[in-house]
Amino acid sequence: MFGLLLLVIRRDLMLAMRRRADVLTTLIFFVMVVSLFPLGVGPEMDMLRKMAPGVLWVAALLSSMLSLGRLFSADHLDGTLEQMMLAPQSLSMLVLGKMAAHWMVSGLPLVLMAPVLGIQFDMSAEALGILIVGLLLGTPILSMIGGIGAALTLGLRGGGVLLSLLVLPLCIPVLIFGTGAVEAVSTGLSVASHLSLLGALLVLALAFTPWVTAQALRISME
């Protein structure tokens, strides 16, 4: 079962590496959105430091939406997805593999980029550390919840905008706990509660979203 998971992850990563531009666009979008905020609200450092976690999280949320459309669409177009659904192995496991690969391609680069952008916003080292831990726990959830939306909107016209409309409200708890953890550092409150809740959401998402996404794929493909 885990062999299958690794196989799917390796395949999707290889496909992504063949088309590096897609990966880079998401990352550049993230950097650009974050850089627009100081231009929009003014360069006062106090305000920027306060806004930084929210800005970084919202930008991560938006840029992970961008690449979600590609999660199943390429496989859907060339018929690979139908073959995957006919395979005797569990579809949920296949879906989980695709979600994991999607996170490595579009979530992980954002996590690695976030500290650099955080420094631009004059965040403290401690806050940066918590931000990264939060993003590491939170961005996989975004990929997994997004998977449900991507499966439901598979092959629809205007799928991209619709996808965001469906998925963004469901991502609000992740946003709240992710930014809450960083805010807790600056106000001296306990960070552990926010991070534990994020971890709980991650476990919950791991348990349910692959199965729900598999059901959604079956609905979309029948």
Partner: protein, 244 residues
Amino acid sequence: MAINWFKYSAPTTFYGLAGKLIPWFGISAAILFAVGLYIGFFVAPIDYQQGEFYRIIFIHVPASIISMFLYLIMAGYAALGLIFNTRLSSMMATAIAPTGALFAFISLWTGALWGKPMWGAWWVWDARLTSELILLFLYLGYIALHASIDEPRRADRAAALLAIVGSVNVPIIYFSVKWWNTLHQGSTIKFSGTSMHVAMQQAMFITLVACWLYAIAVILARVRSIILERERHTKWITELPEVK
């Protein structure tokens, strides 16, 4: 006497039943609205803190309650449709969504009208307001997904799955928003009085029932239209007197 409970789960028979029920629900909703609003506006006393402004609760509170319940009812019907493949359940879920969205919007709108004189702001990022706004987004997402899939069967099933995922998420969203607000600052808004005047209670209860009856009447009317649209190629539709 054995009653066939499933008789009205077929669109064919439900269409006629809904047609007979709509006037009853509609007329009683109108009467109760008139009575409830009369008591609310003319009989109930002035609140010692909020003055006349509080009277908007006779619309606001029923709308909020119904918007939340309708989402769960919609998800319930959607789940029935998904699990048992009953056509009418999916049609009911589709029919409920616009009414639920309408009530969520009314709740936000009247809340804003009340908030301006009472809090001095049209909008406050309070936990209740925010979760009501997210509820409206969930309704809109459901409607948008259903509308953008042409094939009715796929639309029903996809939207049903979304409604179920949404209803699982509703408590998580509600509590996260609640904690988000309380972590930032202590709650500054509390309901002033726990004991309401009897006339206020009566007016609120009557308008709540009136809103339910209105919602049921509108949903039944909408489900009739959906049945007509979906089953327009069948023989029984072409034989209906109103279609001929």
